[in-house]
Amino acid sequence: MAMPATITVKVQSEPFDVAAETAALTRGRTDVGALVTFTGICRGEENGEPIAALTLEHYPGMAEAEIESHVAEAAQRWPLTGAVVIHRYGRIAPGDDIMMVATASSHRAAAFAAADFLMDYLKTRAPFWKQVEKASGRNWVEAKADDDKAAARWTRSGGSNDQAAE
């Protein structure tokens, strides 16, 4: 009988340990043949200007709910043995981790596709907002049209992703 998928979703200010999180996806099971991980890291510059830090604001409650619903959708679309999504909020220094996605499956195609899907949806649907702190002041990061296009790849129509277009 197939073991249930191991699903972990966390929204937290504290750092996370990618190695510990991915180890939990394979511990005690032998049906995992592929593990894909993605880590989003705070860059040290924006448009050639050094940045002091990023501050991530989030909508508590909705952030967790949105991520959970997308992880559930990924688990329906692909035969995953497990998934981890952790997204931090608060002040994050250059070089520090912002978020991670890990997907595990018996075969690599499902793990790669599910990780790609989750990243595209998190970018456009999870209620987080980045503010950049520089010597010249603070500014909110602008959403990229390319992120909306990337997310639209996964809808059946290939069109809108159920939110107002800009």
Partner: protein, 85 residues
């Protein structure tokens, strides 16, 4: 009908508060109506909602479109396009 409004990122900064309770007047039936009504409440609101096309909304923590009906909503949030990940 009393309703809780929450604001995030630059919408919150422009309005100058993270949340408030408001009593909605009659005729405010959709998210779009609510943005129009809010924009008329003062300079800071007019600034926040000056380009309503870019503002995203959620009713009770679920994404909705501007034409969504707000009847029965407990909490409505307004925010810019998301930039997490």
């Amino acid at each position: 009908m009393a309703i809780k409004l929450r604001y995030f990122a630059w919408v919150r900064e422009r309005i100058g508060k993270p949340e408030e309770e408001v009593e909605l007047p009659g005729g405010v039936a959709t998210i779009g109506d609510l943005m129009t009504w809010l924009a008329g409440r003062g300079e800071e609101y007019a600034h926040a909602f000056e380009n309503p096309k870019v503002i995203r909304a959620a009713i009770d923590r679920r994404h909705v479109k501007p034409q969504a009906a707000i009847a029965g909503a407990k909490e409505i949030a307004f925010f810019p396009p998301m930039t997490g990940g």
